[in-house]
Assembly symmetry: C2
Homo-oligomer: 205 residues x 2
Amino acid sequence: MMKNSTPAALVRGPADHEVRNQIVLAATEHFSRYGYEKTTVSDLAKAIGFSKAYIYKFFESKQAIGEMICANCLGKIETDVKAAIDQADRPPEKLRRMFKAVLELSLQLFSQDRKLYEIATSAATERWQSTLAYEERIRVMLRSILEEGRQSGDFERKTPLDETVMAIYLVLRPFLHPLILQHSLDYTEDAPAQLSSLVLRSLSP
Amino acid sequence: MMKNSTPAALVRGPADHEVRNQIVLAATEHFSRYGYEKTTVSDLAKAIGFSKAYIYKFFESKQAIGEMICANCLGKIETDVKAAIDQADRPPEKLRRMFKAVLELSLQLFSQDRKLYEIATSAATERWQSTLAYEERIRVMLRSILEEGRQSGDFERKTPLDETVMAIYLVLRPFLHPLILQHSLDYTEDAPAQLSSLVLRSLSP
């Protein structure tokens, strides 16, 4: 299917994009009703009213569609986490908001859309590209807060920055990873405040 | 079966204990070969050469046997964690050893005895009594190191002790919980050192 794709792509460029979006939208709707694991590409084709072959023109597998849905979901969480961080002025408060927002937004997805949450769980467990990229962008956000706090004098500068980023990321990880979060529900009420306080104490100059 | 159990128990007291041990030993052997989830009490009875009814005299369910196996397993890890802590003189080093030992011993169980690890996973996921008690004893160990470090002047005393115990417990938890550990294998090499360093920075007076 990838043979001679360049000329074809040039001709049908924008339309491709639209059809892909249309498939992803319909698949999101379908998965969120019937679940990701149980649905086959045939089910999906039938539900959308496309042929299976037509869907395969745009996505090489069910997982490729799942990847797009997952990337959209995580992209939304990421935007909201960024917005929460931007509401704060000082780096320490930014870090607190980041912990709080990550947990709240992940829990929201879990409680509001259990079936889409399943996709995120598969993605995290099987280490799909969309999850790896999301985790990396979370680390980038974290690093940027830490750099700002080191410059402002709010945070200590002795520990290598890479180590600080990684250690704090590990503290945050149970609330980022959908499967781990499901096994941490007993702790979600106090965890963000307690953990961000611990992290801030560890950062004091 | 529990009716009039007191006189019977008085008569066969020590023997009861021995039979229970015998069943637990045989079950450990059997589960570690064939897995916990797949084995029924009937399978177990056949393998040990007891009647199913006889086993039910001593354990009310398969889970009750699993609880004993799990408690033995976790008890062993706990003893080894304590020994690792006791090898260190000062509270900061005790904390480092605790992080290292918890991870190493959990990983050991995971890599050496995958089938018994399954029992620990069920226990943690379904919150069996043996796991809850183990988690509580880990928090008690942690508290004792923190108290010692507060007295020696190694650790800060401003944060309420309960909060410090809980926050550090949450940092350690992904490496205590068998299911979460399985989804954290990418991080096990550096995590104990990085996390215990972060925690020690947070404790500096």
